[in-house]
Subunit: 333 residues, 2 copies
DNA sequence: CTGTTAGCGCGTTCAG
DNA sequence: CTGAACGCGCTAACAG
């Protein structure tokens, strides 16, 4: 059974300080005698020592933990992001506390509250609404904060997001070119900043093609779900009175719903329809249609987010910067 | 800025005990005078109070945190499992500490060590090898432990796994029936208990069809990856000297590799091939082929795992039980 | 080179 | 009804 420092001190007959120096690898520095050192090390080798983080946190007023709050861990993007973050944390001896909010601001607020009460040293959050600053304003020791994926305008925290405008522009250009201007954007959660940027990329590409009424090429619904995708596709089918030529989905969930609807409506997914979507998945390879998709760089986002956290935790000034991570455009078939 | 109990006591002129009773909602019970109570409550309403979990943990020797160690958060199964667990934890005021080990026993050991040092009250783990008991054997306060997804024979902890044998049997029966006995199992990580059960289900189904040499119908490779899937399919194609009739994958990663290989080899995925796989994904709907898949019930597993944890944490006897959660067989097209 | 000590904030016990 | 005091295990300042 692992011992506490005091127990080791008592058992070996030395003081806590001496034991601490040995255990902390500072024996050299404080010129602990070889004999003393050997005795302590032997005892530790036999019985083990286990740092009590609660006591350490209490004393140091820091937890060596970081919180991660995402809307949906079931979403592969957030899962990979969380995983990458956890790796960075482990590398620095930090633990990661996670919370998944189901896009519910209520749950989100409680989760953040809970993490802060736990005294996390850092917080990475992909908020479902504009984050409420009151958390930190009134707070003993304010943790480092980084907003990811969803940087609302005039963000007060450093943020790291994908290059949504540019990647959307590139994908939309290609989509419109290949479909001769016949493409519709099936869009869920249009109020999210990331989606807004994607919309703007689409609009820009429309402009380049001299499509004036791009707004009419966008079908919107508030919640991001398979069901929304189905309803949007339903609308699209009704509108174009025939097999749609090309469409662009704001997320994989919307894509799922849209394809499902195509399949039930036509019995199969018409091979002529050109598919484009944000967020990518390996399985997209196996749809026979031509498919364009944009893959976000979760590892890159995590790396930058963590770097920003680390910077803040080391007390450097909170530079309110906004970082944009490029995406990859993938085209299949 | 939220206050500590001592600060509130000092500011209101009462003692910590009195303040604690009021804050703890025990005012009635200890007959705190209405005036006192009002004063304290007013002060708290104005300045806030924030429990210091580090101090609480130090005193109570318990952290109100549970750890979750999985091989790969990027895997949708583990992501959903983790998410569901987190929900249960939140409901009981616990936080979830997560770690993803990339199937590396080294990382896993360090992650567990780290979580235990953090004093987690419970630990949910999907181990990559048979868990090493020495963690807990020699330990001050042993946390509650539940093994999920991968219960090795003679497991010493309670475990919760999917009904791998039965679901495999059902899927294999159907697969063999539809393919007239012409099906091959592309199997990665055959040493995992879950995979072993799936293999046995396949063998049983072969037996029912009076296929004696089921072993020759299984192609194995140790690591679960897209690359393995490709190599296994390569072998299969070479062996059957033509388009395979039907195959069964041990995981989605293997399926991805296998399909990829089919596609590069034949230019497209032959429509006649019958596909079956463990673990399911919505996108499987959009492959034109007939597809069988087994979907695990992550929510069910999480619920039972958490129930077992809770049971142990409440001091009830550690009944070394093994729970099996049914899966759903999905067939498409 | 080694030892002593004072908190960190909370929960609990005992004493009025 | 209210207050005082101890200790959880660790860190760090100070004292030899």
């Amino acid at each position: 059974m692992p011992k506490t420092i005091e127990e080791i001190a008592a058992a070996t007959g030395y003081s806590v300080t001496t034991v601490r120096f040995v255990i902390g690898g500072q024996a050299e520095r404080y010129r602990i005698s070889a004999a003393t050192r050997r005795k302590v090390e032997e005892y530790v080798a036999r019985h083990g020592y286990e740092l009590n983080h609660a006591a350490r946190s209490l004393k140091l007023q820091r937890s060596e933990a970081v919180g991660c709050v995402v809307p949906d861990l079931g979403n592969a993007f957030f899962a990979r992001l969380t995983e990458a973050l956890e790796g960075h944390c482990r590398g620095r001896g930090l633990v990661l506390l996670t919370a998944s909010t189901h896009e519910d601001p209520e749950i989100e607020a409680r989760a953040v509250e809970s993490l802060l009460a736990r005294g996390v040293d850092g917080l990475v959050i992909a908020p479902c609404r504009r984050p409420d600053l009151t958390w930190l304003a009134r707070r003993r020791r304010r943790p480092a904060v980084v907003v990811v994926d969803r940087a609302f305008p005039q963000e007060v925290y450093p943020s790291v997001v994908s290059d949504n405008f540019d990647s959307s522009l590139r994908m939309s250009r290609q989509l419109l070119r290949e479909s001769e201007g016949q493409a519709v954007f099936l869009c869920a959660q249009p109020e999210l900043p990331s989606i807004q940027h994607r919309l703007r990329g689409f609009a820009e590409a429309c402009g380049e093609m001299e499509i004036s009424d791009w707004e009419s090429r966008v079908l919107r619904l508030t919640d991001d779900s398979v069901e929304s995708g189905g309803r949007l596709m339903q609308t699209l089918i009704a509108r174009c009175a025939g097999v749609p030529r090309a469409f662009l989905c704001s997320s994989l969930l919307v894509l799922e719903g849209a394809l499902e609807k195509l399949k039930t409506h036509y019995g199969t997914i018409p091979g002529t329809v050109l598919i484009a979507t944000f967020d990518s998945h390996a399985m997209l390879d196996f749809i026979p249609n031509r498919v364009l998709s944009v893959r976000q760089d979760e590892a890159g986002i995590a790396a930058r987010a963590f770097a920003s956290l680390a910077e803040q935790m080391e007390g450097r000034s909170i530079s309110i910067e906004h970082q944009v991570v490029p995406c990859q455009l993938i085209s299949r078939n």
